[in-house]
């Protein structure tokens, strides 16, 4: 693991951090049971349609395909009791010609889940010349399941060009009304001078 | 400029004022007089009374008290002087200017800051002059689709109405611009004109925010006029007259506020609303409707509206003093004019000067003015205080207060007045005169 190599290199450099580093290494690496159980629940229900990204303390990642995202999200909301979305991110991967839309879900009502943030990720196809709203970069909107994603999805639409079907108001939010360029957070949009 | 404010010292303030006067005299003498002399190279000096009228002789004649004092005294009793200087516009404008300065300083001290500091030698005393000069020098911008005649005239009407209000106020016995038999009724009529001016100016600006502000001002002023009028009915019942001078004269032994405290409180609240002062400054609610009906005024028009506002403030405070606090009545603290100056003249060494025309103003009038001014300034300070303490009230709460609570209290006040009169305690033929 590259991270462990960095820790070892650093402990040979500085004396003060050696103690703290040693403390970290002697703590046994616990497989987070609770997070594992949550992830298992999703995977057993959906089989191959949802896969586990990673399981870390307090962070779980579930990858799903965009056709199944509505069912997975409904399951997460109803069975696992995650009740709101903290943010919706779009990450652009031009090499694999895909845009990854990442939902971070949290829970206010369930006290055991207060620390957990579940990352729900899906990929949508990406076109070289985007036509936001009218090309294949689209996915069903999660607004009916989690009301809180309304403005986040609008921002994702204008910044990356991902059209959310079923969203009542796919309109510009932060960009000016007369923005005529490609969606700015794509990797082909380059800032002047860089 | 220093960033740490120096402490206020009264001696420094007086010193700077004397400094100012000194410089005025120096400039006049060193520059003014030589200019006159240079002019005299070209103008023939006239000959009056077999004497050549040089500038020095002219100044001596001007400064001769026995010649000038009767002229000044007769000037002081003309209507023109009364309208422009003493109980009229000049006096009111002076008090209004002082009020603005005191308000800014008072508010600053409440809010742990300093207020005007840099304009004028000490403690920003010339700030108002600076603001006035700034407003005069600004461009007056009229919106394109505004109703131009009314838009131009509205601030002038505002100042004119405020000046009309001031003309009804008696300051000292015999010193009032317009002594009407129905003085109080005239006051109500003039007050009723203010909402009309406000709505005219806001409508003619042809913009959304002034429109909302004007409607709010209309609602506020109209709904508070009724408690204002009703609260003063008690005074009219008790004194039996509408003449403001007579109302003041009827308070020679006791003030009306002792017998009508509820009326005084209702009146005070309604004048806060009529003046659009915090907590009732909705028509210019800055955070909701930019500046309300004043939004489109710029430059000197805004200056005129502010002048009118502060003239109104003085006028309402003076009205409160007259009706409830006894006007100019007060113990005689002004020293009487020494009689020997009139009979024997002023002794200056070997010369005895007889000056006809003294005294200019009699002791009664000066004493009355002093007490009137002290009381009015006191009322003004109490009006200024809520600005540092309260937030702005909302329009529906304001209408609720004006229509329900204040009218109710005003009626209670009227019943108290009627009870006092019919029980024979006060009023004509009562126990207490």
């Amino acid at each position: 693991m590259s991270s462990e190599k960095i820790i070892n290199e650093k402990s040979s450099e500085t004396v003060e951090t050696k103690l703290e580093v040693a403390k970290k290494e002697t703590i046994p690496v616990v497989e987070p049971k609770f997070e594992k159980s949550l992830a298992e629940k999703v995977v057993t229900k959906f089989g191959t349609k949802a896969t586990i990204g990673f399981i870390k303390p307090n962070r779980i990642r579930i990858n799903a395909k965009k056709e199944n995202i509505l069912d997975v999200a409904t399951f997460i909301r109803d069975e696992l009791n995650f009740d709101h979305a903290e943010s919706v991110t779009g990450v652009d991967y031009p090499q694999s010609k895909e845009i990854e839309v990442v939902y971070h879900l949290g829970s206010y009502t369930e006290p055991q889940l207060a620390k957990q943030v579940l990352t729900l990720a899906t990929r949508v196809p990406r076109e070289d010349i985007p036509n936001p709203g009218n090309d294949s970069t689209r996915m069903p909107s999660l607004r009916d399941i989690f009301y809180s994603v309304e403005f986040h999805e609008r921002e994702c639409f204008e910044m990356l060009g991902v059209y959310f079907e079923g969203h009542p108001d796919n309109r510009r939010l932060l960009l000016p009304e007369d923005w005529a360029d490609i969606p700015p957070f794509r990797k082909d949009f380059s800032i002047k001078g860089r | 400029m220093s960033t740490i404010a120096p402490e206020f010292r009264l001696s420094r303030l007086i010193a700077s004022l004397i400094d100012l006067i000194f410089w005025i005299i120096v400039i006049f003498t060193l520059i003014g007089l030589p200019i006159v002399f240079i002019l005299l190279f070209y103008i023939q000096l006239p000959v009056i009374d077999d004497k050549l009228l040089t500038p020095y002789l002219a100044l001596t004649w001007l400064a001769d008290p026995s010649r000038t004092l009767p002229i000044i005294k007769s000037l002081m009793h003309t209507d023109f002087f009364r309208i422009t200087a003493f109980p009229g516009f000049g006096f009111a404008a002076l008090l209004a200017a002082g009020t603005i300065y005191i308000e800014r300083k008072l508010l600053a001290k409440i809010q742990l800051r300093v207020g005007p500091l840099y304009c004028g030698k000490i403690e920003g005393i010339l700030q108002l002059m600076g603001d006035g000069l700034k407003l005069i020098s600004k461009e007056i911008i009229i919106p394109a689709k505004a109703d131009k005649p009314i838009f131009w005239v509205a601030p002038l009407l505002f100042v004119g109405t405020a000046a009309a209000f001031i003309s009804l106020i008696p300051v000292a016995p015999g010193w009032v611009v317009a002594d009407l038999e129905v003085g109080l009724l005239a006051v109500f009529a003039v007050i009723g004109f203010f909402p009309i001016i406000t709505i005219l100016s806001s409508w003619s600006a042809n913009s959304k925010f002034p429109f909302i502000g004007g409607i709010r001002a209309l609602h506020q002023m109209v709904s508070f006029e009724i408690p204002l009028i009703l609260s003063l009915l008690g005074i009219v019942i008790l004194t039996g007259t509408l003449n403001l001078t007579e109302i003041v004269e009827s308070q020679q032994h006791y003030w009306w506020i002792i017998f009508m405290p509820i009326g005084a409180i209702v009146f005070f609240t309604t004048i806060l609303a009529e003046l659009e002062r915090i907590p009732f400054d909705l028509p210019e609610a800055e955070s909701e409707i930019v500046a309300g009906w004043l939004t489109e005024f710029s430059g000197m028009m805004y200056g005129l509206v502010q002048l009118g506002s502060y003239l109104k403030l003085y006028a309402f405070a003076a009205l409160f003093t007259i009706l409830f606090l006894g006007g100019w009545n007060g113990p005689m603290v002004w020293p009487p004019f020494p009689q020997e100056i009139i009979t024997e003249g002023i002794k200056m060494g070997p010369i005895t000067m007889h000056v006809p025309g003294l005294p200019l103003l009699d002791q009664e009038m000066l004493n009355g003015t002093l007490w009137f001014t002290i009381k009015t300034i006191g009322v003004i300070l109490v009006i200024l205080l809520p600005r540092g303490v309260f937030p702005r009230i909302r329009i529906d709460l304001l209408l609720h207060t004006g229509w329900y609570k204040l009218i109710g209290l005003a009626f209670v006040n009227i019943f108290i007045a009627l009870a006092l009169v019919y029980a024979g305690v006060l009023g004509p033929g009562g126990l207490i005169q």
Binding site: S2, S3, I7, E9, K10, E16, T17, E20, V21, H84, A85, E86, S87, T89, V91, D92, V102, H104, Y108, T109, K115, V117, S148, V149, F151, R171, L173, L174, L175, P176, E177, D178, P184, F185, F189, I191, R194 | I110, Q111, L112, R113, I212, I278, P279, L282, E286, S287, E288, V290, R387, G388, V389, F390, P391, R392, I393, R394, I395, D396, L397
Partner: protein, 377 residues
């Protein structure tokens, strides 16, 4: 008009009854964002928030700078509260790079974070006062901020743009007699805070204006995904410092302030109570802080993360502020997403302002603890 409009621009329909007001960026009651409000008489029919006046594309610009260059860059969205927005960034980068923070640095971070919370909350409270027309409530918090800014200047060297937190600790140690000075100033600051109770929170006019307006029920607060003081004033007990403690918050003694009513009065009160808690936290942290030690872990030059991602969140003045960093092995992050409390609370605005009186608009809108610069990023 037959000319076609550019996309996104709408023509206002002329209507006899409903007036469209543009509470725009150039308005003394709007902050730097635009609210398009349709008014019917005195009642608001609909409200359409239009943020984006100060949008700079922070997240895009962060992809062109490496992890250290991002520090002064990413503190700009909420410059008063700069420590609190750098906090999740530093925590996430420490996760990615596998860094361990020394103990003294953790305490210093907590103290700086709480001081910044006070600085931000006082600014917000001052603007709340002036929106309601209370000019004294504008001047007093602005003056009392100076105590906290003074301490932060002693720590970091700048009054506002601190750039104090770095991945691995803080930039430099606090000056020599900082502890006594901090205790003295925080004591006096707390005394000053208690005076706000009389002039503002018990003011009858204020209570009349804000109680019962803009009521957000508990279910709605959870469903809309609100955060921070808006959430805690609706009765939900959620504070990231307690639920997911980071640095040394699990070691310190404080309470989460929760009110139940959910109206504007409660929303304006929760940050004030939080500030009093912050004073307690600072005093506690000063007592428990190790007296000496390093404050920074040494970094390799040009630190690179692996092919992983990190999401950390922190309780800032507005709510839970999350930073999601995706790295792909380069010195610059691949994607940085800032999830701010203001943007999450933006959804309350059209929801709460509908049906309110126009006079309540500033009271409700600003009580949502909305900072336009942060929401726009």
């Amino acid at each position: 008009m037959t000319t076609s409009l550019p996309p996104g621009i709408q023509l206002e329909k002329a209507d006899d009854r409903i007036m469209t007001l543009n509470v725009g960026p150039q308005h003394p009651g709007s902050g730097h964002m635009r609210l398009i409000i349709k008014v019917d008489g005195d009642y608001i029919v609909s409200c359409d928030p239009d943020p984006g006046y100060v949008h700079r594309g922070e997240e895009k610009m962060a992809e062109y700078r490496n992890y250290i260059q991002n520090i002064p860059h990413l503190e700009r969205p909420i410059i008063h509260d700069s420590c609190n927005i750098l906090y999740p960034y530093c925590l996430a980068v420490e996760d990615l790079l596998g860094l361990e923070v020394p103990e003294r640095a953790k305490y210093i971070r907590v103290i700086a974070s709480e001081l910044n919370r006070c600085v931000y909350t006082l600014y917000w409270l001052a603007i709340y006062g002036i929106f309601l027309g209370h000019s004294t409530m504008f001047m007093w918090p602005m003056g009392d901020r100076e105590f906290c800014i003074d301490l932060l200047e002693a720590m970091s060297g700048a009054r506002v743009t601190h750039a104090y937190f770095v991945p691995g600790g803080v930039r430099n140690d606090v000056p020599a007699n900082f502890e006594e000075r901090c205790l003295r100033q925080i004591d006096y600051f707390e005394k000053r805070l208690k005076q706000y109770e009389d002039i503002f929170y018990q003011n009858p006019v204020l209570k009349q204006r804000t109680e019962g307006t803009g009521v957000l029920s508990r279910m709605d607060a959870i469903r809309l995904g609100t955060t921070g003081s808006v959430l805690r004033s609706a009765g939900v007990d959620f504070d990231v410092r307690k639920k997911e403690p980071y640095d040394v918050y699990d070691n310190l003694d404080f309470q989460t302030q929760v009110l139940k009513e959910g109206d504007s009065y409660a929303r304006s009160r929760v940050p004030y109570l939080d500030m009093l808690e912050s004073c307690r936290i600072i005093k506690d942290a000063l007592k428990k802080m190790p007296k000496s030690g390093s404050v920074r872990t040494k970094l390799k030059p040009n630190p690179k993360g692996g092919n992983e991602e990190a999401y950390r969140r922190v309780e800032s003045g507005r709510g839970s502020l999350g930073m999601y960093i995706v790295s792909d092995g380069k010195p610059e992050p691949y994607r940085v997403k800032i999830s701010v409390g203001s943007f999450r609370n933006l959804i309350c605005m059209p929801y709460l302002l509908k049906g309110e009186k126009l006079g309540n608009m500033p009271a409700v809108y600003w009580s949502l603890n909305y900072w336009p610069v942060e929401a726009d990023r």
